[in-house]
Amino acid sequence: MTELLIKNGFVFDPINKINGEKMDIAIKDGKIVHKVSGKAQVVDASGLTVMPGGVDIHTHIAGGEVNTGRIIRPDDHVKDVERKTAMTRCGTGYSIPSTFTTGYRYSRMGYTTVMNPSMAPLEAKHTHEELNDIPLLDKATYPLIGDWWFVLENLAKGDIVECAKHVAWMLDITKGYAIKIVNPGGLESWGFGHNVHSIDDQVPNFCITPREIVTGLARVNALLNLPHSIHLHTNNLGLPGNYTTTLDTMKALESVPYNGKPVCHITHLQFASFAGDGWAHFQSASEEISSYINAHNHLTFDMGQVIFTDTTTMTADGPFEFSLYELGGHNKWVNSDVETETSGGIIPFHYKKNSPVNALQWSIGLELALLIKDPWKMFMTTDHPNGGPFFAYPRVLAWLYSKKAREATLKHCNKKAQKKSLLPTIDREMTLYEIAIMTRAGQAKALGLPNKGQLGVGADADVAIFNINPETMDIAQQFKAARKAFKHAAYTIKDGKVVVKDGEVVNNTTPGRTMWLDVQTKDPCVIDEEMRRKFKQYWTIEYDNYPVFDHYLRVPEKLTVKASV
């Protein structure tokens, strides 16, 4: 029985509508409680900001693709090493840190829950093995099923119930958490080197369009009552002029019944909000996109903010990575198609301030975050490592809460991009409350994790304490000090244990849990001879060897969901 008392902190807990009140947080056995006994260990948080532990809805930290990225980038690791200490394992960074380093670095920033958004179901065991080696964090992972043949075939037939059963089965055997869709239809087309270019293009050989895939899976998601919505990477991502596709997709999703819970999460929105008819006329479409979003409530988003640094882009969107490679100037290109399911690509990428496109991309991400009025809709990510590594989050936050910080960076940017940028016209500076929504509460709510992202009684005792005194520090003016505070959390508390103190890991005994969904359908997907035969035809491994067996999750946390089919 361990007890902990966080005393006198300024608490920001948006889910419980607590905005900077000075109060105590009591913790007992890894949960938040009303009060603790006098023997409780006391963390003195007077003059400090207390928030729920950070939640990251979209960060590529584990799995086959991430690891291939590690293998091809020794040049990335050699410049950033993490030494072994008595407490921690050694490792390397920079843009694709090794697993242990990933855990420590997230934890040092006050994060406690992260979501790995892209897992080829065939390689699910690999992802889970890596997640096991990421300490101090709770994790979950989304299987890629937007281009899975079973889904395409069932949706083409219009059999949504059968599709739902198969999806439930897939979530169960891959120990996944949500439906991830990447460039719907495009990945199947990429099997023969093609792509789809609008949401109404036909997918070769399957008689289906991206529109039908997205809306079909959104309905499946509703039928299965999954906690998170579908998690969508839109078509034409990363191409100039793609904002029309994004708008089309958002409009198409209006047809899906909305009952107060978002029907879709469109991820790394920055990469999907480009205007202009070519790279030479590259423009921001943040106004068009944000005005639509401000008028509609059926979707959530994350930023996919770009950081000016050398990073590694990796996505299941194989055709996009190849078109990026063909732009020239890149030395490595990895493609990794996965039978029956998905594809993937990796390219090292350096976002430069003096590039008109990169600089405007940086601006678009921030414009979107600032123009979308409701922080419960738009979350802070860099689509690690696509826009930049996750440990640059404090810099993104600084740009959000301080106009001064934005100006300081903008003035070093490409002159053309400066002219096109809307940032000088935006005065909004986010408050700590809004920051807490964008980095924790909103993400936890969108993910459907009731015990995360809040400090109410009964919630998981995941707490981040930052060295920011809201009474004396004006974060918009002193953005560097606040940025430093977000970079090195004063305390990170995971499951009621202090794991980080003053930005250093002090306790490495918490491996973190892996959450997965056990979707209970009324009559589950029957694995009959027909299904086994299909399995033999579609995959190159046997049905019996396909599932992620229970022991692959070191500390599993099963979340049971009752489906309505």
């Binding site: 293998i71 065991k125 690999h126 990895v334 990794s336 198609d337 579609y538 491994i541 046997e542 019996d544």
Partner: protein
Amino acid sequence: MTSEVKSVVCPICGCLCDDLEVTVENNEIVKMKNGCSVCEAKMVHGYKSEERILKPMIRKDGELVPVSMDEAVKKAAKILTDAKYPLLFGWSSSTSEAQRIGVELAEELGSALDNCCSVCHGPSVMATQEIGIPASTLGQIRHRADLIVYWACNPWTSHPRHLERYTSFTDGRFEKSEWKSYMQKMKGDASMKKVQAASKRIIGSTIPAMRPDACALNAPPQTMQKEGRKLIVVDVRKTMTADAADYFIQVQPNKDYEIIEALRCLVGDQELDVDTVGGVKVEYLKDVADAMVNCEFGVIFFGLGLTQSAGRFRNIENAIALTRDLNRKTKFVISPMRGHFNVTGANVVFAWSTGYPYALDFSQGYPQYNPGEFTTIDLLRRGDNDATLVISADPGAHFPKAAVQNMMKHPLITINPDMNAISRLGDVVFPTQWCGIECEGTAYRMDHVPIMLRKVVEPPKGILNDEELLKRILAEVRVIKGKNPDTETKAEVKERNKLAPRIEIKQRKKAKKVEVA
């Protein structure tokens, strides 16, 4: 008692066929279905070898003496901690779970860590680091590939079921098996031989072949024009795989790079001013380039003939560049033919825990990577290390003499199921279970697909598996080092951090500058 186990995974080559059906009688495998000859040799006979090590042994006065497990573990831990710079090598026939512990052990010891990749597909990894790799899983090839190229490898012998399960002789969604046309060809060849023999008997000389032997002229036969899957084999000699091919290109040894370069030129619509390249006529190469450009989905599989001949990783780099060029015209992928069943896994596990796939060093307290410096043979030949641990590999049989001599000069710990060459030389010899027969665990197929190996029979009594054994050694090492993480004082931590290498300090300074900017 007889039982049948289905969907057993074969722990031999990188194909990791997982459809074996094994019959077990009295805790012995007696029969199996679906396996190739290599698989049957190990799974039915090989694992019961009389050379099986059943007890841990320590060398005393030049003789290996059986001892208790505790004593052997203590001795091994003592050797490893006493050494200034041990080397941990092997891993490719072990499970990923054991490899994980291996990395932890190397970290704790500050040792060198390397896997068999450094003597097989290490150059492929280096090429990938230079230029990337357009790859796909094997199923993608099975469903879609209509052009299959085996370059400098002979899967018919080394990966016997590769053609049958993943490439030419398998039915996919969009491409059908070429098994029938292969059978016809074989029949044709056989009757041609009969005709030749008969004509020799009757008229005393052979009649000219109806179908000119592709090899003799090296010209592309008519089968190059056929519909369906085409199979091209490029090798220095005519192998069994080449017999099955629609076109076999015989290159002069060490001329692969030139041929790849010529193909790149031809694919890029450039003219060549020479008549032959690497022993092959350019006009024939043009036909090959045409076939490559005109296919729907092509694949190149390459083997050690490319990684270990002149040019080494530059060969692979060029082959990958060819594949990349072809992707501008059609869809093409390339894949190494990985040998041992979990050599890919060793790369994968090392990479996720350290960032690097092989040739690792932990002597500075953080992972370093440098092939040529920390690769096993280079390290042994220089004589840098002063103790060696070999697990699930037999460098004794395969390494150069100088490297083996160096291993023998210093204490040597071996972990292998049977008494192979390296175990005979060991100072501490551990027995272990056969991965995939007596214990389960994860292995990675050559295309990075993880598959769980199954346990089919019970291991002999008292024998631990790799993972358990390494955990015990690691625990013992920690005891000897007396380093209990919970009791290390702040002063000690500070002292250790003082030794922080310059590069890190530089990096910090640089990072600060960036931040300021």
